[in-house]
């Protein structure tokens, strides 16, 4: 822990010069502080060992320089204790770092239950963002301060990566799959969004801004601008428009297909005996490749909707299925 202390004080002294010559990104989420502390520890370890090795080498270079061409140096032995020491001490340091880093990672991997879910679609070379309440934006993300936000992300083409350095969060955005990341912004301000996975010609222009707003500003922003219906409402329209509702009837009724009420987040047994968690990716798979998601007691008759839905419509359907789950759970209790 001495390292942390050294690292932090060192960086704080640098802080004065930081305005002229920034060496540190802004620190604007609940996650950032923990990551930075670990970063300082690692910097401390790196500086300590590098300085150690460099100084020893310089000292030996001068002290033991060759003084005569035919000099024969004395023999030295490698004591086992020394070898063990410099095997075991680095191991111990690594163990500490591993547990610390993993603790932070696992903690940061789980969004809090109360998170607001915002949807992100990456495409060459822009970010489409849709709020559950309806507003859409491109390359901009407005979020309220001090409130956990979960991003559910997918890509329309290649792999992208959603990266907000100020929050110390990053996650690849994959086609045909949903990944998520979450953060809770702590400071009102404007921060960079980057695509951090190479995605083609204009990869470096796939950038944008996060606007962290006070709750009142955020509410005002949601109320202003274009007014769309909420995502789950759009999903519900699609659900009947595409004819899904004719087979997937509501809760309590029996249809040609299984009821989707309350199915989200459950573990379902397939007809081949395997068990799968119903998540965003599985719902998507059921829509584009229904034969691969077969529940027992139902016939394999659902047509594929592959190529008929945009990624945005897909997200709306998923949002709708999720909302069914939410209602079901509420009704159940």
């Amino acid at each position: 822990m001495l390292m942390t202390f050294l690292g932090q004080t060192g960086l704080q002294h640098l802080g004065g010069a930081a305005a002229l010559f920034p060496v540190q990104p802004p620190d604007a989420s609940t996650i950032a502080g923990g990551v930075d502390q670990l970063y300082y520890l690692l910097t401390g370890v790196t500086v300590f060992f590098s300085v150690l090795i460099f100084s020893i080498i310089f000292y030996f270079m001068i002290k033991y320089r060759r003084r005569a061409p035919d000099e024969v140096p004395p023999e030295t032995h490698a004591p086992l204790a020394l070898e063990l020491a410099w095997t075991l001490i680095p191991s111990a340091i690594c163990v500490v770092i591993f547990f610390w880093a993993s603790y932070l990672y696992v903690r940061n991997a789980r969004p809090p239950a109360a998170s607001t879910e915002i949807f992100v679609i990456g495409k060459q070379w822009m970010w489409h963002i849709q709020h559950p309440e309806g507003p859409r934006e491109i390359n901009e993300l407005h979020v309220p301060v001090n409130q956990p936000v979960e991003l559910t992300m997918t890509s329309q083409d290649v792999i992208h990566d959603f990266y907000i350095p100020a929050f110390r969060v990053k996650k690849d955005v994959l086609p045909a799959r949903y990944t998520s990341l979450w953060f809770q912004a702590t400071k009102v301000g404007t921060y960079h969004i980057y695509c951090a996975q190479y995605c083609g010609t204009n990869h470096s222009e796939m950038i944008g801004w996060v606007y962290v707003m006070s709750p009142t500003d955020y509410a005002a922003w949601l109320a202003g601008g274009e007014q769309n219906e909420s995502m789950s409402a759009s999903g519900e329209h699609l659900f009947s428009l595409l004819g899904c509702s004719s087979c997937h009837a509501g809760a309590g009724q029996t249809g040609t297909g299984p009821s989707l009420a309350g199915i989200y987040g459950q573990s379902e047994k397939f007809s081949d005996g395997s068990e799968h968690l119903v998540d965003d990716t599985l719902i998507r798979q059921a829509i584009v490749q229904p034969d691969s998601v077969q529940l027992p007691n139902y016939k394999n008759i659902m047509p594929t909707f592959k190529g008929q839905l945009s990624e945005e419509q897909m997200l709306q359907l998923i949002a709708y299925v999720k909302s069914l789950g939410a209602e079901e759970r509420k009704n159940g209790q």
Binding site: F270, S271, D272, S274, Q289, D291, S292, Q294
Partner: protein, 225 residues
């Protein structure tokens, strides 16, 4: 081989960089085994990808497997096992100093069996798959039976059996060279290393098929049908 001709003190086939013929034989054998390690990982990459998709899309792989003709798969397994036996006997014949005609007979028998394997594969299986539109990327006829998952299974079926068949063809080439070398009296009980290490290769190709047969033809068993 030209190295050997210059040094008459050594047995035929002896290469100058070695100290003894035994060292050369051990080096050759180890070299082949190291090459087979590479081959195991080469096929292994394919098997890994296969295992992942089989695990993720088990139903489709099962359905795809049931479209294959297991009788030909089984026949070909037997054909390859016989060819491994004849290969082993060819080596044994050179090793024990039998007449070169005996060695050549076993080698040619091995070649015939290898060619039979490829023939069965090509005519009764691949040609049939082509007619039925089961060749992904080149001739795939989508239908309710031929789902994208089944297509993926057939990708692996063709890549794996194709890669195996390429190895068989290379093996036939090697066997041809061996027949010529035997006919030219290159081998003796002291020096038959090329035969031995080619045998290792041939048996390896056989082993790959021993795994391919159940993994491709018998997924999920055949008892439902």
């Amino acid at each position: 081989m030209s190295d050997a001709a210059t040094d008459h003190a050594h047995p035929p086939g002896f290469a100058h960089q070695f100290e003894t013929i035994e060292q050369q034989r051990e080096a050759g054998s180890l070299g082949m085994w190291v090459f087979l390690m590479t081959e195991i990982l080469f096929f292994g990459g394919m098997f890994t990808a296969y295992t992942v998709y089989r695990a993720l899309h088990f139903g489709s792989f099962e359905a795809g497997s049931h479209l294959l003709l297991w009788k030909f798969g089984m026949t070909n397994t037997a054909v390859l096992i016989v060819s491994s036996l004849t290969m082993a006997l060819a080596i044994r014949s050179a090793q024990t100093g039998q007449k070169k005609g005996t060695t050549i007979t076993w080698l040619i028998l091995t070649m015939i069996l290898g060619a039979a394997f490829i023939g069965i594969k090509l005519y009764f299986e691949w040609y049939n798959d082509w007619k039925e539109g089961l060749v992904p990327g080149l001739h795939w006829i989508a239908s309710p039976e031929h789902t994208p998952g089944v297509e993926q299974f057939f990708c692996f079926y063709f890549f794996m059996t194709g890669l195996h068949a390429i190895h068989m063809v290379i093996g036939l080439g090697i066997l041809t060279v061996l027949v010529i070398m035997t006919a030219r009296n290159k081998f003796s009980p002291e020096y038959y290393a090329p035969l031995e290490i080619s045998g290792l290769y041939w048996h390896f190709v056989d082993i790959v098929w021993i795994f391919l047969f159940p993994l491709l033809y018998l997924i999920g068993g055949r008892y439902q049908h």
